[in-house]
């Protein structure tokens, strides 16, 4: 066998493996995609060819499901979480990255350690606290919870990006006449922008998909999309077509964000120092 043939064979094997992986990952999504466009009779049959309908996407927004309100709640909660998390995390990350702080390592470890706490352990205290201060079933309450969830992650991630910015660049800017704030605005933020965007998108995805806390801490007004999915369990069984339509609505922003992230993630990762 020549070297060229060997190479071709190994390439073929690679392609087959990739196809298998893609297939395994995409089949459920494909199934949901089809189910969302089927009527409630077709949905129980494994038909590949059927008359597609948009009816499900209408139904989910009507009574008794009112998915619109949940979509709105999810959007608000996720956006506000990101809008608060990224500036705060950036400031924290900058300090951790650039200043000599007492107990810096310990603080970083503690921040990370909060992530290891199983959510179920703290959910009850949260419930009791929120009940006492009247935050149960409010979007503000959910934003607070989501902040607690995404902040450690955001701080660590953004710190990584800021660590990657060579300190000389900042020092040069200071000698050139900038104050610390100007350095952050003119040098650090633009250079860390891909990183901030990536972190923001990750936080958005986490907040958008958050299920457990929303399940316990909301019941009517502040219900989010993932909880809304549970509505489609009726006496007559699971309403798969509606469930799938709602699933697609949940996934859609993720697809779009995944596309953006792909571009910036690579850029963020490869943006190194310029000597």
């Amino acid at each position: 066998m020549t070297g060229k043939q060997k190479k071709q064979i190994s390439q073929a094997i690679q392609i087959v493996l990739i196809l298998i992986t893609i297939f395994v990952m995409l089949v459920p999504i494909l199934w949901i995609f089809m189910a969302a466009f089927k009527n409630h009779i077709d949905v129980f049959q494994l038909k590949l060819f059927f008359t597609p309908t948009l009816e499900n996407f209408g139904t989910v927004f009507e009574a008794p499901y009112h998915l619109g309100m949940k979509l709105w709640n999810s959007t608000i909660v996720a956006f506000v979480t990101v809008a608060l998390a990224i500036p705060i995390a950036t400031m924290a990350a900058y300090s951790f990255s650039r200043f000599r702080l007492r107990g810096k390592t310990a603080m970083l470890v503690v921040i990370l350690a909060t992530q290891f706490m199983p959510a179920v352990v703290i959910i009850l205290p949260f419930f009791v606290m929120f009940r006492d201060v009247g935050l149960l079933d409010t979007r503000i309450g959910l934003v607070l919870v989501n902040l607690a969830i995404v902040m450690p992650f955001a701080i660590w991630m953004i710190k990584g990006f800021i660590d990657g910015i060579p300190i000389d660049t900042e020092e040069a800017a200071m000698v050139d006449g900038s104050s610390r704030i100007m350095v952050i605005r003119n040098i650090v933020l633009p250079m860390a922008a891909p990183g901030l965007l990536t972190a923001g998108i990750f936080c958005f995805i986490i907040a958008w998909n958050e299920f457990l806390f929303a399940l316990i801490l909301t019941n009517k007004d502040a219900v989010t999309l993932p909880i809304g999915l549970a509505l489609f369990k009726a006496e007559e069984g699971d309403l798969w077509n509606l469930l799938s339509a709602a699933g697609i609505i949940i996934m859609l922003p993720m697809f779009i964000l995944a596309l953006i992230i792909r571009k910036y993630f690579v850029q963020g990762m490869t943006m190194g120092a310029v000597r």
Partner: protein
């Protein structure tokens, strides 16, 4: 435009002493070159003057103000960083314009000044590029342009020409010399390049292990070194340092060869320093000492002979057209001026 005065300046990191209790007066308009081996504390000294490193002890004065507690931006110095410190997200133009912009230079003034600075470092065609798309030498010139675009009180230049090719280095050297004379800005300049140091400096400060060994004009440093270290460090090729002793008014090598008359009292252990240029080469038997050629090199404008003197090798500079073969015997003569004697234990000069 200001003097820079360092008073008992010290920088320690834990037990390690980077700069050790150094004082230095740099006059207004002076061009001072800091010279020293790698790791001797040159960059550290510059960074303390710029305000990027807090001194452990001591005072820094720029003009008539102690600047220890001033932020870098308030010290009005311009620095060329050893590793450039360019802004990767900005074009070359914006990099050079940045110090003007943050200091609120009027809009109309910025472009002509950036163009002028870029022209001085031959970068005009590259103004729209990002640093990532530049070669090392081009990046260094951007860093240089960013410093000379404004008129600071002090220039701090940390090996600003180290990455340029030989030809450009000579051009830039002349450019810098011209600029510093024209603008009359106090300049502190770090280099490893002897010729740069000799040509640019009003005064040279030779540093070693965080300590300034000698400060003086290039002439003093070259022709009147205060210590063994300075003697061996300055000059290319390095000064020949020959171990021996002084007996009956003569310097005698460790091998027992009586070399040359010296005017110091007898002493068992001394080092004789003599530069390659201060010896004459003649045919075998015609000079003071005969020696076998160990290696023969041309440098273009001169020739270099390494000869074996007992256990010691000595480099002698010969005329441009001298042609000798390895292994031949030549005769070397030492004049009695330009000989330097040192105490090998303290490293100090022994003066007659």
């Amino acid at each position: 435009m200001a003097s820079v005065i360092l008073k008992n300046l010290t920088k320690c990191w834990g037990d390690f002493i980077g700069v050790d209790n150094q004082s230095l007066d740099i006059q207004d308009h002076e061009f001072l070159v800091l010279l020293g081996p790698s790791g001797c504390g040159k960059t550290t000294t510059m960074r303390m003057i710029a305000g990027l490193e807090d001194p452990t002890d001591g005072e820094i004065w720029i003009g008539d103000r102690m600047v220890n507690d001033d932020l870098p931006k308030d010290r009005h110095v311009a620095m060329v960083f050893q590793n450039y410190g360019l802004y990767p997200h900005m074009t070359v133009f914006d990099n050079i314009a940045y110090p003007l912009r943050v200091r609120g230079t009027p809009k109309g003034e910025i472009e002509p000044r950036v163009k002028k600075a870029a022209g001085q470092v031959e970068l005009i065609e590259l103004l729209h590029r990002k640093p990532k798309a530049l070669s090392g030498g081009q990046r260094q010139r951007v860093a240089l342009a960013r410093a000379i675009v404004r008129t600071p009180r002090v220039f701090l230049m940390d090996e600003p020409l180290s990455n340029l090719d030989a030809k450009l280095r000579v051009t830039m050297r002349a450019e810098l010399k011209h600029l510093s004379r024209e603008l009359k800005i106090t300049t502190i300049y770090v280099t490893h390049d002897q010729i740069e140091a000799m040509t640019l400096a009003d005064r040279i400060a030779v540093m070693k292990d965080g300590i300034i060994q000698q400060v003086g004009t290039p002439d003093e440093i070259y022709n009147d070194p205060a210590s063994l270290f300075v003697a061996g460090f300055i000059g290319s090729p390095a000064m020949n340092l020959i171990n021996g002793s002084v007996q009956d008014g003569y310097f005698v090598t460790t091998g027992g060869t009586k070399l040359v008359a010296v005017s110091v009292p007898d002493k068992p252990d001394v080092v004789l320093g003599v530069r390659a240029d201060d010896m004459r080469i003649s045919e075998e038997g015609e000079g003071d000492i005969d020696a076998r050629i160990y290696a023969f090199e041309h440098t273009g404008e001169a020739t270099l002979l390494t000869v074996q003197w007992g256990t010691q090798r000595v480099i002698v500079r010969g005329a441009r057209h001298l042609r000798k073969e390895q292994g031949e015997i030549v005769s070397i003569s030492l004049g009695s001026d330009h000989l330097y004697l040192f105490n090998p234990d303290t490293g100090k000069r022994i003066r007659g």
